[in-house]
């Protein structure tokens, strides 16, 4: 569950997948950080991540957090996007067809209602080739 304020505040980061790249050591972090996790530098630039990547790991959740029941079974992945990793939901695929290394692409989807009763849109991922769904 989340709030309108939170969704509004992070909408750019979340919908455009904005990471931070360190100008000193090059480390790319998503979620974006205020200082580089690797070298501590504050010289960071915002950088949009690629929208196509591959599944590093995944889980199929039968008991999601309260409010997400309609998305069950919920498939959550760690996805390699360029030099960064992103955690997100995978949609348009049967749980049995997900595999490590699977190519996926970002898509805009509806999420669970916020605590204030609004339906937000977030970035989810779907298989790149429709044949694998």
């Amino acid at each position: 569950m989340t709030t309108i304020q939170r969704i509004w505040r992070i909408k750019n980061t979340l919908l455009r997948l904005l990471s931070t790249r360190c100008l000193d050591c090059g480390f790319v972090a998503y979620p974006p950080k205020a200082s580089c996790p690797k070298c501590g530098s504050r010289r960071l630039i915002k950088e949009e991540l690629p929208k196509i990547g591959e599944v590093l790991s995944y889980t199929v959740i039968n008991v999601p957090l309260r409010g997400f029941e309609e998305f069950t079974p919920l498939i959550i992945c760690l996805i390699k996007l360029g030099e960064a990793k992103v955690l997100a939901e995978l949609v348009d695929v049967k749980p049995g067809n997900v595999h490590i290394g699977m190519k996926v692409m970002a898509t805009l989807r509806r999420s669970a209602k916020t605590l204030d009763g609004v339906i937000p849109y977030v970035v989810k991922f779907r298989p790149l080739s429709l044949g694998s769904s």
């Binding site: 969704i7 972090a29 979620p31 790991s57 889980t59 039968n62 992945c77 990793k85 955690l87 669970a112």
Partner: protein, 383 residues
């Protein structure tokens, strides 16, 4: 770390880990605290430090005041320390620091948690607050789900079989069955784990620790005041380290960086090597957490922990024996209290009066983890 004063565990106490429907949070804390205080002749502490993660679930904050007042300690210094499921460990670290710095001589550290008072969905949501609310929880991922991502990654990278990981739960229930303070005292088989419901694939119910209520307390003192105990145990080293709460910005997904760093710090301050450890209580919230922790601490090479315990390592009789209490899996995991339970259990092992699986030992280690390896405290104890 600069020069610090020596710190001792002079008294310990704990409640059985259980579903304590009839006992309030303050009374659980009092039971553990009074046992620890009784061990030191009821010598009044100068400060109370409380470890807790989720008392807001039962609509109660300000725990140091609540508990200190309830146990007759109005006027003492009081504070609560939070580090998610690692709150107990950081509470002991805070108490240690108060004595090591010279501020106080006698501190009572209490870890307490009641996870079974609210309906399970509320508690599970609370536990997930240890993760990144902005970028992880907006997808509805549970705490088990985050650990499942690590588990699948690890199994795939190191070609570790499901059955090998599941065996950890069987071993833990064997140990916990002999521990009168443990929550789950039944022995189980590999089949119990492998046929239990899938929570977050590949994690099944019996890969996971139970939800628990419980409290544990340690009375710690300076060198001058260790005389309040006949069997003081030296806190030889402490170390804490944090990592990102989110998994995605981690450099590595197959080790807990904060676990490794905190263990290194604790061993360095203790001037000891990992090979010196006779007994350890580690944070096996899930079978995968046991494997990654053992490797990050340095008890096993990367990818090898499950192979080692399948060969019989880490069990009673081995050096080190890991989790003679039954660990989080069997003893249970009252989150903010767990780190304090671990210190109580290892101190009792060194004193020779732990009532379950007994491990004759000189040097012990505890490691308590908050989040998926994001706030980790390691403590080295010495007889």
């Amino acid at each position: 770390m600069g020069a610090v004063r020596r710190v001792y565990v002079a008294g310990v106490g704990m409640t059985k880990v259980d579903k304590h429907t009839e006992t309030s949070l303050r009374d659980l804390a009092a039971e553990a605290a009074f046992k620890a205080l009784d061990e030191v002749g009821n010598e009044k502490p100068e400060a109370v430090v409380v470890g807790n993660m989720l008392s807001s679930l039962i609509e109660q904050e300000n725990l140091a005041a609540l508990i200190a007042d309830h146990i007759g300690l109005r006027g003492v210094c009081g504070l609560k320390v939070e580090g998610a499921c690692g709150s107990g460990g950081v509470a002991v670290l805070a108490g240690y620091s108060m004595i090591a710095s010279g501020l106080y001589d006698r501190v009572l550290v209490i870890g307490v948690e009641k996870l079974l008072e609210r309906p399970t969905p509320d508690t599970l949501r609370g536990l997930a607050y240890a993760a990144d609310a902005d970028y992880e929880l907006i997808y509805g991922v549970s705490f088990a789900g985050l650990n499942a991502l690590i588990m699948r990654y690890y199994m795939s990278k190191y070609d570790v079989r499901r059955e090998e990981l599941a065996l950890w739960s069987v071993i833990m229930h064997q140990n916990g069955a002999k521990n009168p303070y443990a929550q789950l005292r039944n022995e189980i088989t590999l089949e119990t784990v492998l046929s239990s419901p899938v929570v977050a694939d590949p994690i099944r119910l019996y890969d996971a620790c139970p939800l628990s209520d419980g409290a544990a307390a340690v009375y710690i003192t300076s060198e001058d005041w260790k005389k309040v105990s006949d069997t003081p145990i030296l806190v030889a080293g402490v170390g804490n380290a944090v990592d990102s709460p989110d998994l995605s910005s981690r450099v590595s997904l197959d080790e807990f960086y904060a676990s490794r760093i905190s263990a290194e710090k604790a061993l360095r301050t203790a001037k000891l090597d990992i090979k010196d450890i006779d007994v350890a209580e580690i944070h096996d919230a899930y079978t995968i957490t046991a494997a990654v922790s053992l490797e990050s601490i340095g008890f096993a090479e990367k990818g090898k922990a499950a192979k080692l315990w399948s060969e019989g390592r880490f069990r009673p009789g081995d050096k080190p024996t890991i989790n003679p209490s039954g660990g989080l899996k069997s003893r249970g995991h009252p989150v903010g209290a767990t780190g304090v339970y671990q210190v109580v259990e290892v101190a009792m092992q060194l004193r020779g009066d732990f009532p379950g699986v007994s491990v004759p030992s000189e040097i012990g280690l505890t490691q308590n983890i908050g989040g998926v390896g994001s706030n980790v405290t390691t403590i080295v104890l010495r007889r």
